[in-house]
């Protein structure tokens, strides 16, 4: 298929001017997605991007596929209808931390539990970009923004924890600037059958610049970033100072120096039937400092998809009852005739 299609990155670009601020992390994600798309081997007309509202939600305009820029928070619901009625399509949702977790929180968690065949890219810049800088549900507590001049009061969501609590079958995290990593996660999501949530840390250089600097800066990021790989020990750190994740007697996870950890370093199992480990991993970072932050695929398990189950019910019914005849239906069984 990929050979036959011979699509290139350029094929996925539109003629529309990209209207993000210079320096915005959204550019990098766009480039990564456009670069990744040809490898899917899916024709452009069979791909749809649906977004909500926010800076990130402008995304579909720049993808030369079918696309809809919908309304705030509702993209997962709209995409659910599309994917459930068209299992032949590859449906992608683009959303922001406000779009997905504030106004759209309910649609997101329901999409996850339903396991509709959607790939959801959640651009998390921990701020409302398009409305010019209010705190978002992922902003750290105490954040000073336009709407919280004395500091925000509420504890942030951890999107990965929330998704796991909502019965998600695939949850991953990546970073705008790490194209290689992002691409690998996109790949895994595309291969997953069902709803895949990818949280992408994205820099808003206008209203929340440097929010993920620690995780991006070449000099320090190794000290804060845990790269999850299925089947591999969970470890991280700078060359001189490496840590392994171990389970403590009180059942929580902790980073301890590798030499101390020895054999007890946990092995990552993205396919574990139960989300316990994935959830514990999601709790590792401190919500304020984001350290240490695991990236990669937290969970990737198989459960029948909603659209498939729905299609099967239709097929079954047609097989058992025969394809529906309108005249028969309208007539029913309880009639009388005037002649």
């Amino acid at each position: 298929m990929p050979e036959l299609l011979k699509l290139t990155t350029k094929d996925f670009k539109t003629d529309q001017e990209v209207r993000w601020c210079p320096g915005c992390g959204d550019y990098a994600v766009l480039a990564a997605v456009q670069g990744f798309m040809p490898s899917l081997g899916i024709a452009r007309e069979d791909i749809v991007f649906v977004s909500g509202i926010g800076c990130s939600s402008r995304f579909p305009y720049y993808m030369n596929t079918y696309g809809m820029h919908s309304i705030h928070g509702r993209a997962p619901a709209i995409a659910t209808g599309l994917a459930a009625s068209r299992p032949d399509l590859s449906v992608w949702v683009v959303t922001g931390d406000g779009d997905a977790l504030s106004i759209g929180g309910n649609h997101l968690i329901h999409a996850l539990r339903r396991n509709v065949n959607l790939k959801i890219l959640l651009f998390n810049n921990r701020i409302y970009g398009l409305t010019k800088g209010q705190y978002s549900p992922t902003s750290e507590q105490g954040k000073i923004t336009k709407s919280t001049p004395y500091g925000s009061l509420d504890a942030p969501f951890n999107p990965v924890s929330l998704a796991l609590g909502a019965e998600a079958t695939f949850v991953a995290r990546s970073i705008d600037s790490d194209r290689k990593h992002l691409t690998s996660v996109l790949q895994a999501a595309a291969e997953h059958q069902g709803t895949a949530l990818i949280e992408i840390y994205q820099n808003c250089n206008i209203f929340n610049d440097g929010a993920f600097e620690k995780l991006k800066d070449n000099g320090v990021r190794d000290r804060h970033l845990i790269r999850l790989e299925h089947g591999q020990p969970i470890s991280f750190g700078a060359e001189d100072e490496r840590y392994g994740i171990v389970r403590m007697p009180d059942a929580t996870l902790k980073a301890v120096p590798l030499e101390q950890a020895g054999d007890s370093v946990l092995i990552h199992d993205a396919h574990a039937p139960e989300p316990d480990l994935a959830f514990a991993l999601s709790r590792l970072p401190d919500p304020a400092t984001l350290s240490p932050t695991p990236i990669g695929v937290f969970r990737d398990v198989t459960r029948p998809t909603y659209d498939r189950l729905m299609a099967d019910q239709l097929d079954d019914a047609a097989r058992k009852l025969g394809s529906g005849k309108l005249a028969e239906l309208l007539t029913g069984s309880d009639t009388w005739t005037i002649s």
Binding site: I47, G67, M68, S70, A77, A83, D316, G324, L329, I338
Partner: protein, 628 residues
């Protein structure tokens, strides 16, 4: 004893009892028998919002009214000729509606001192003269049923429960209803519990026999079948007809039907019905809320399905933003609002017409949406097809405004020949539609059909027509984002012109004499009562015209002309004057409203009075003027 048989042309029966007494089922069965017999009929269920309101209380009363006749009728009837009251609460709640001289059948077993006190009867109404002037039949329904079922291996509770079938049997005897279908029905319903089935059948037969043998009933009644046009008929409820209309529209358009809905009274039954017909390619999606329901439907429409959402008022109040998006995207979508009593949670199980202006205006910005309204339960079928025709032809969301009365009410339906149903052509875009100056071809998602102003509907999977659309204002033609002031003005006006220009049939006026001076204009479920009232008025030798709007937006082209032909326009509505407002604004006609917000359909007699008074006052006015 030979019993008398009296011929009557019409009867109105009301069954009333506790929520747990099975009155709705009893009414439904009596209706089926009546339909099978070939009478014309019309029904009105009336039940509380609670699942099982406390036994024996006034709020717990559940009632079912049926009007059947040997001729064409239009309403479930104003006042029952016969009231079946299963307990004191049912009697108290309903007796006032029965005219003196009417028949009252009471289940004496329930008239215990405790039960009487519970509903505030100081004395036993069966004894204290309250029922003087009524034909009263005192029947120990519970005792008699239990006695009949003594030999059955069922609990006392189950035996007592069968009393509704006993009463159905009695009434079936009283009105010569055919009984086979009910027996078959009971056997099927309780197929898994054959003893229960047998007991219910026995109770039903015992009730019939009681009528046949007791001296309490000396007369039985015959209501001859109604002459109806040739054809096959079935009895149908509005929600069922609506669901069938949608399925038919799916067949006629070749589009797979996709329902995105969240349960809500009185719309839920459409979801229930559609979820049964998967072999018709119908997908039903029970969403997490109303917003997701319509969102999913819109997403499905984008993908080339026939997207539909069903709800009632509170749900519509939530869907406004997404309807606005659909207006902006110009995609087909059908929004069914089964109106109920409002505002807010209001009266969930009662009927009302108070969402018309919400349907017209409940979105931010200028966001016109066509509106179609059925006039009777069976008409929900045709109205649904019409809504889909408009949605698909014009690429627009369309409102279908039914209501609680239509939803739960029923009437005979002349089953249409499938070959006669309208074709609906989706005409998906298949290729580029725009030749650029340099000769190259492009697909412009907002380049319109010059006739209908509809834009092309290009669905995913169509190679070469990839495009992006959204809720931000779009450039005319290309559909690209545009903030240009003149373009916005143009797009706003174009969307308005598209809806205003929808091709709909002219309004027909029912004015047999051709000389009426007063026009009664209605919409939706008031058709029956208004038409019945007009007939009453005419029978009294006076003239009145009736026109009934199926299309509320746009209005039929000839409406303005019609309105001017009459001296007075009366608009009865189950709201405070919503159509009135639209008519007055549009045509500057001093239409007078007759408004009731009681959660119940109009009574024909009451409307007839209103019309007569209007005629009289105009006559006075005329002579007064003449006297000047």
């Amino acid at each position: 004893m030979t019993k008398q048989v009296e011929k009557v042309d019409r009867v109105i029966i009301r069954f009333a009892g506790d929520s747990g007494d099975g009155m709705q089922l009893t009414g439904d069965r009596f209706t089926s028998e009546t339909a099978a017999f070939g009478n014309d009929l019309s029904t009105l269920p009336d039940f509380p919002a609670e699942i099982r309101a406390p036994a024996g209380t006034l709020p717990g009363v559940s009632a079912f009214q049926l009007h059947f006749a040997d001729h064409d009728i239009l309403t479930p009837g104003d006042a029952p000729d016969v009231l079946v009251a299963m307990n004191p609460a049912a009697l108290k709640a309903n007796l006032k509606d029965v005219p003196r001289g009417g028949t009252v059948i009471v289940n004496t077993d329930e008239f215990t001192p405790r039960a009487l006190t519970k509903v505030g009867y100081a004395a036993d109404p069966l004894e204290d003269g309250s029922l003087d002037g009524y034909k009263v039949h005192r029947v120990a329904l519970t005792t008699q049923t239990v006695k009949v079922l003594e030999g059955f291996d069922i609990s006392r509770k189950d035996a007592e429960r069968a009393k509704n079938m006993y009463s159905l049997g009695l009434l079936s005897w009283l009105y010569h209803r055919p009984t086979d279908a009910t027996v078959a029905f009971l056997e099927k319903k309780f197929a898994k519990k054959p003893t229960i089935a047998a007991a219910n059948v026995a109770a039903f037969r015992a009730g019939w026999n009681y009528g046949e043998t007791t001296e309490d009933f000396v007369v039985s009644y015959e209501v001859a079948p109604a002459p109806m046009p040739k054809g096959t008929y079935r009895n149908i409820h509005g929600n069922l007809a609506l669901a069938y209309g949608l399925i038919a529209a799916g067949h006629q358009s070749g589009l797979p039907l996709f329902l995105g809905a969240y349960p809500i009274t009185p719309a839920s039954d459409i979801l229930h019905e559609l979820s049964k017909h998967k072999n018709h390619g119908v997908r039903t999606f029970q969403a997490e809320d109303e917003i997701a329901g319509i969102g999913a439907a819109l997403g499905a429409s984008f993908g080339g399905a026939l997207g539909v959402t069903t709800t009632s008022g509170p749900g519509i109040a939530l869907k406004g933003e997404t309807i606005g998006l659909a207006v902006s995207l110009e995609l087909p979508l059908v929004i069914c609002d089964i109106q109920r009593g409002g505002p807010s949670t209001g009266l969930p199980t009662k009927t009302e017409q108070s969402d018309l202006l919400l349907a017209m205006f409940g979105r931010n910005g200028e966001a016109p949406v066509p509106i179609v309204a059925p006039r009777s339960p069976a008409d929900c079928f045709d109205a649904a097809l019409e809504a889909v025709r408009i949605a698909v032809t014009y690429r627009t969301p369309v409102f279908l405004l039914s209501d609680g009365y239509l939803a739960n009410g029923s009437e005979p339906w002349h089953i249409p020949d499938v070959a006669d149903l309208p074709e609906i052509a989706p005409n998906f875009a298949a290729g580029p539609n725009k030749v650029l100056e340099d000769g190259s071809e492009e697909f412009w998602p907002f380049l319109r059909d010059p006739e209908t102003l509809a834009r092309p509907w290009a669905i995913p999977g169509t190679a070469g027509l990839e495009h992006r659309i959204g809720g931000i204002e779009k450039q005319d033609g290309t559909g690209n984002i545009s903030y240009d002031p003149a373009n916005h003005d143009l797009m706003v006006r174009t969307r308005a012109a598209k809806v205003a220009g929808i091709d709909i049939p002219d309004l027909e006026v029912d004015d047999p004499s051709g000389e009426a001076k007063i026009l009664v204009l209605g919409w939706g479920s008031t058709y029956g009562p208004i038409q019945a009232a007009c007939r009453q008025v005419r029978r009294g030798g006076q003239r009145v015209a009736h026109a009934h709007l199926r299309h509320l937006n746009p209005f039929p082209a000839n409406l303005g002309r019609i309105l001017k032909e009459y001296d007075r326009v009366l608009i009865p509505e189950m709201n405070l004057g919503q159509l009135s407002m639209l008519i007055r604004a549009r045509y500057l006609v001093d239409a007078v409203g007759y408004n009731q917000v009681r959660g119940l359909p109009f009574k024909a007699a009451e409307l007839a009075e209103v019309i007569k008074n209007l005629i009289a006052s105009d006559a006075v006015g005329d002579s007064a003027r003449a006297g000047v």
